[in-house]
C-alpha cells in the first residue's frame, strides 16, 4: 500500500518534470518543424545558473532569475542563430541544434567543471512533509509538484484565454496568414522559443537539487524527453502530458516493484534449474530493467502506433 502511494507521488514528480520539458519542446517542434536537440541543454543551464545564483543570493532568487536568464539565452539563440540557419532548411536546423547541445555541454564543463555540484534544496523545504507507514515524503518533492502544476495552469490560461495566446496558437499552424493580419510572427516565434527554454530552465532549477547537477544531466533527461514526445505523438501537447505521466509512473513503479520473471514463473508453478541457459535472463528484476523500459515503450509504440498516442496521421 505505501508502495503504491509513494510510487504514485514519485512518479507524479518525474512525470510533471518531464512535461515541463516536453511541453516546451512540443510547442517549439510544432513551430519549427524540427526537433530541438538542445532543449535539454537549457534544462541543464537552468540548474547551473540557479546553482551559481543561489551561492550568492539564495535558492529563491535563483528560482526566479535562472529560468528568466535561460529564456533570454534561448531567445537570443533563436534570433541570431536558428532564424539565420532556417533559410538553409530543416537539416541545417537539426544539425545546428545538435551542435548547440554539445557546445552547451562543453561550456558548462569549462565554467563549472565535471564534478557534480553541491546544489541543495533550501533549508526551508528540507524536512519530511509527512510520514506514512514509516516512510517519509520530502517537502521538496511536494514543492516540485506544486510549482509544476502552478506553471502549467498559468500557461494554459495564457495560451487559451489571452489574445497573445490565440496569436501563438494560430501562428504555429498558419504563420503566413497570421503575418498577413499584421502580427509579427518572427517575434512570436522568438518568444515561444524563449518561453519554452525558460520552462526547461525552470525544470532544471527545481530538479537540480533532487536529481543532481552535473554535465551529463542534459543527456540523461533529454533522451527520456524525446521518448516522451514520440510516444505522446509529435506536436501534441495533450499527448506529451499523458506520455510524461505514463513514463514517470512506469519508471517509479518498475523501481519499486522488485519482481523478476522467475517470481512470475514460480507463481505459475514453473521453475528452472540453476544451470539453465536462460536463468540470467529470467532472474533480471524489474528495478534492473527500469532504465530501459521507456525505450522499450518507444519501440512498441513505433511498431504498433507510429503516430504516437495522440499524434495526428501524417499527411
Amino acid at each position: 500500500m505505501e508502495l503504491v502511494v509513494f510510487s504514485l507521488l514519485n512518479g507524479l514528480v518525474t512525470g510533471l518534470l518531464l512535461f515541463m520539458l516536453s511541453s516546451g519542446l512540443t510547442l517549439i517542434f510544432s513551430m519549427m518543424g524540427v526537433l530541438n536537440f538542445a532543449h535539454a541543454s537549457f534544462y541543464m543551464l537552468g540548474a547551473y545558473f540557479a546553482y551559481t545564483i543561489s551561492g550568492y543570493m539564495g535558492f529563491w532568487v535563483g528560482l526566479i532569475f535562472a529560468p528568466i536568464l535561460v529564456g533570454v539565452v534561448g531567445a537570443l539563440i533563436q534570433r541570431y542563430g536558428l532564424r539565420y540557419v532556417h533559410r538553409w532548411g530543416h537539416v541545417a536546423e537539426l544539425v545546428f541544434t545538435f551542435g548547440l547541445a554539445f557546445l552547451i555541454e562543453e561550456v558548462v564543463q569549462f565554467f563549472w567543471g565535471k564534478a557534480t555540484k553541491d546544489y541543495h534544496e533550501p533549508e526551508l523545504l528540507d524536512f519530511p512533509l509527512f510520514t506514512l507507514f514509516g516512510q517519509s515524503f520530502p517537502a521538496y518533492k511536494a514543492f516540485m509538484i506544486f510549482i509544476s502544476i502552478g506553471i502549467f495552469i498559468a500557461l494554459l490560461m495564457m495560451l487559451t484565454r489571452t489574445r497573445v495566446g490565440l496569436i501563438i496558437q494560430a501562428a504555429i499552424t498558419h504563420p503566413n496568414t497570421v503575418a498577413n493580419l499584421g502580427h509579427n510572427v518572427p517575434l512570436v516565434f522568438m518568444g515561444v522559443f524563449g518561453v519554452g527554454s525558460a520552462l526547461a530552465g525552470l525544470a532544471g532549477v527545481i530538479a537540480g537539487p533532487a536529481l543532481g547537477t552535473f554535465p551529463g544531466m542534459a543527456f540523461v533527461l533529454g533522451s527520456i524527453v524525446f521518448v516522451v514526445i514520440v510516444v505522446g505523438g509529435l506536436g501534441s501537447l495533450a499527448g506529451a502530458f499523458v506520455a510524461s505521466l505514463l513514463i514517470g509512473w512506469l519508471q517509479t513503479f518498475a523501481i519499486a516493484l522488485d519482481y523478476s520473471m522467475t517470481d512470475l514463473l514460480d507463481l505459475l508453478g514453473v521453475s528452472f534449474s540453476d544451470d539453465h541457459v536462460l536463468r540470467d535472463l529470467w532472474s533480471l528484476s524489474l528495478p534492473q530493467v527500469a532504465p530501459i523500459l521507456p525505450y522499450l515503450l518507444l519501440i512498441l509504440i513505433l511498431i504498433f502506433r507510429p503516430t504516437g498516442l495522440m499524434g495526428k496521421r501524417e499527411t
Binding site: H174, N180, L181, G182, N184, P186
Partner: protein
C-alpha cells in the same frame, strides 16, 4: 493610393511576374481578371511581401519592397487569400479577434457589424471555425481581414465554388466595404460581379497586364475577351 511599377516575382527559377504595373486610387474598386495560372494571386502575394517582390510598390508614397509582411499589413493593406484559411481550431469569434491589430483599435468595423452583415456567423460565434461551411469560411476570412481595418483590401477569388445565393452575399459585402471608403482589389475569374461593381478592370496575361479600362470598355473589346478571358 497603390502604385505598382515593373513588379517582378519568381518561384525558384520560374519567372512568374514579368513586369506588372497597375494603380489603385483612394476609394476605387479595381478588378484583376485573367485565366488560371497567369499570376493574379502571385501579384497579391508580392504586394503583401509573401513572395519576395522586385520593382516598385508604393502605398501612399511608402515603398513596400523590402518590408516585412506584418509591416505591410500595418500600413493598412488587407489580404484575403484564395484558400479560405480560417484558423480551424479557434472559434469564429476568436478568428475575428485575431484580425484586429490591437485590442484598443477603433476602426470602421466591429464584431457586431460583421454579425449584422452575416447572421450565420453570429449564430455560430462560439463554434470552431473548422466546422463552418465553405461559404461561411469565405465570409469569415473576409470579415477577419476587415477587422484589421485596412484602407485597401485585396480579395482573391471570393466567389469561387459558392452557390449563387452566397455569391450575392459576397457581392453585398463588397458593396458595403466600398461604402465605408475602403479601396478594393478584387481578383476574379468570372466577369459578372467584377463588371457590376468595379470602377476599373485590369486583365492579366502571362505575367503582365494586357488590358486596363472601364468595365464598358472591356465589354466592347471582344478581342481581349476572347484572347485572354474566355476559355
Amino acid at each position: 493610393m497603390l502604385e505598382v511599377r515593373d513588379l517582378q516575382a519568381f518561384y525558384g527559377k520560374s519567372h512568374i511576374l514579368q513586369g506588372v504595373s497597375f494603380d489603385i486610387a483612394e476609394g476605387e474598386i479595381v478588378s484583376l481578371l485573367g485565366r488560371n495560372g497567369v499570376g493574379r494571386s502571385t501579384t497579391c502575394k508580392a504586394v503583401m511581401g509573401e513572395v519576395p517582390p522586385q520593382g516598385s510598390i508604393k502605398f501612399r508614397g511608402t515603398e513596400l519592397v523590402g518590408k516585412k509582411q506584418h509591416e505591410i499589413a500595418r500600413l493598412g493593406i488587407g489580404y484575403v487569400p484564395e484558400n479560405r484559411d480560417v484558423f480551424p481550431t479557434l472559434t469564429v469569434r476568436q478568428n475575428l479577434v485575431l484580425g484586429m491589430k490591437s485590442m484598443k483599435q477603433e476602426g470602421r468595423w466591429s464584431i457586431d457589424d460583421m454579425f449584422d452583415l452575416f447572421s450565420n456567423l453570429r449564430e455560430r460565434a462560439d463554434i470552431r471555425a473548422g466546422a463552418l461551411s465553405g461559404g461561411e469560411q469565405q465570409m469569415l476570412t473576409m470579415c477577419r481581414t476587415l477587422m484589421g481595418d485596412p484602407d485597401l483590401i485585396m480579395i482573391d477569388e471570393p466567389t469561387e465554388g459558392l452557390s449563387p445565393q452566397m455569391v450575392e452575399k459576397v457581392a453585398g459585402l463588397l458593396e458595403e466595404i466600398a461604402r465605408r471608403k475602403v479601396s478594393i482589389l478584387l481578383v476574379e475569374q468570372k466577369l459578372t460581379i467584377a463588371l457590376r461593381i468595379s470602377h476599373r478592370v485590369y486583365v492579366m496575361g502571362h505575367g503582365h497586364m494586357v488590358f486596363d479600362g472601364t468595365p464598358e470598355a472591356l465589354l466592347n473589346d471582344a478581342q481581349i475577351r476572347s484572347e485572354w478571358l474566355e476559355v
